[in-house]
Symmetry: C2
Subunit: 328 residues, 2 copies
Amino acid sequence: MGITSKELAELCGVSRTTVHRALYNTGRINPETKEMILKKAKEYDFRPDLLARGLVTGKTFYIGVVIMDSDNRYFSQMLNAIVREARKKGYSVNITFHENNADIEKEQLCRLVDYRVDGIILSSIRKGTDYRKFLRGLNTPVVTIDNKVAKDLPFVGINGKKATYEAAEQIIEKGYEKVVLVCPPLADAARENVYVHEERAAGFTKAMRKHPAVKSVIIDGWDYAKKAFQELEEAGGRTAFFCTADIFALEIMQYFRERGKKVQRDYGIMGFDNIDILRYISPKLCTIYNSVEEVARNAVDLLFALMDEEEVPAERIVDYIPVDGETL
Amino acid sequence: MGITSKELAELCGVSRTTVHRALYNTGRINPETKEMILKKAKEYDFRPDLLARGLVTGKTFYIGVVIMDSDNRYFSQMLNAIVREARKKGYSVNITFHENNADIEKEQLCRLVDYRVDGIILSSIRKGTDYRKFLRGLNTPVVTIDNKVAKDLPFVGINGKKATYEAAEQIIEKGYEKVVLVCPPLADAARENVYVHEERAAGFTKAMRKHPAVKSVIIDGWDYAKKAFQELEEAGGRTAFFCTADIFALEIMQYFRERGKKVQRDYGIMGFDNIDILRYISPKLCTIYNSVEEVARNAVDLLFALMDEEEVPAERIVDYIPVDGETL
DNA sequence: TTGAAAGCGCTAACAG
DNA sequence: CTGTTAGCGCTTTCAA
């Protein structure tokens, strides 16, 4: 740290108030004193203590982010976009991970509030009215992303149900006789908020009901690759796997490859999210673009609106975009 | 925010000091008053204002991180590890990106200091004694990672030179008659700190000098995929590409695949870093594990030592680990 | 046009 | 064992 405003004031032979006025053009001030103060300020490289300012103004120009972690490719892209957006508006980002642990999530949220962040973006693993009450009790604007926590909490996400509905239709059109939904998180639905995946599963089942002739299977749980392989072996017609996240698709392709199964020849597969690493994967995975940048931008935007206490619609649904590939 | 310590004191009918003593076991206090205060504190969910505390104690329990961005897979893994390590020690992380812009880097560093972070981890794009002076002038412990900024600044990284030296030897042993080093950042060496890549290039050239019979080429600049392809076409013997980052290798493999070249049959290739997405890439890329977690752990560790004003060796070199694959 | 004084919420030295 | 007081560095009335 350099010099304080008090020291600067002494150096200039004026009061702290005058220094303040010179620096922030607030109130009337003699142009000459102002210039003199600015010169000295530059000379001594005065920079205000942001902690002290935050304490008195009640604004820290910080936003807090609580997500699972940044190992997950989707989240690290999200984080990147959030930091960028925030910076544009002069905000810094305080990042924390809950690591899929409900207690940690709560703890981190409290900590952020105690640091007086101006707002929070949260991808929660919790849900329900109790938790909504807790979030409200923080007395800090919170925007939820990905997983919806409760109906009336600000939320940004995509319409996953519609996306998977349409995708399933498309798969069926291609003539697959058996379509397997791979959705591991469903197994955790009792303990965690897996809204994102439930929505995607819902779209799938809705589509399958329309086509009773096509065989349909749902796989949940984290030994999904093995289960998927069994389904492929049993077969009973051309089989496609629809995964509720790209990462599951990649794991399965890997698993199948090691067992001599070739995509397109032996099976079809589709993912969801269009994470950036797909660029390096061959053959190109069919997927659905869950526009991270768009979600991030909207989340930050909505958060700022809430911080300004604007009356805003509490929900923003961003468009998804189907991405063509070579795996169906 | 909930209730303040002053309000809590009133509620309990004692002074703020007593409240403080009850909460933090400091100094003598009547067990009964203590219990009473703790009970009330819990009842009203008192949590101290961390900003105010930071202002008075001079410690914020924040560390700042300045890296390029979290699009880069290496950095997002790094970030993840740093946040984890920091949390273990009760610290939060304030994350900022410099986006390869020297001015932004400086600005972000200042901002972090003005927020009184207790220490900073920096992957810089600058170097030299002037910049070292600037960093010293921040009066905040700074640990540099990846790129060394100046000799006597705390630094954590791996021995890239030795790693590439050994790797090059290995490639040559496999009988390749031409080895191409792909190191795009070298083209930016005048403007940026590209220490990491310079080191890796140095190890390569050192090895090649030992084997004058093997043809050796160096490619820099960001149209490297095209250039690499030209080298392959010209050939003049079995050709291997040694890339100073996995990501370059992936781009090249992609580029070559689109042009009908098959790895191992038509060329050999090796990367550096062992980023996590390689797991999904087939064939498995030969590479060198740049132990992110290890680097992160050491960086945080070293930073804490500096913050405690311990006399510590300013440099920690972490081991790399060669990773076998199917691309040579 | 300038300055004095209060206060943000906390900690810490010093009295009682 | 408890309370008073001062102060971290800033902003913001209010008065001169």
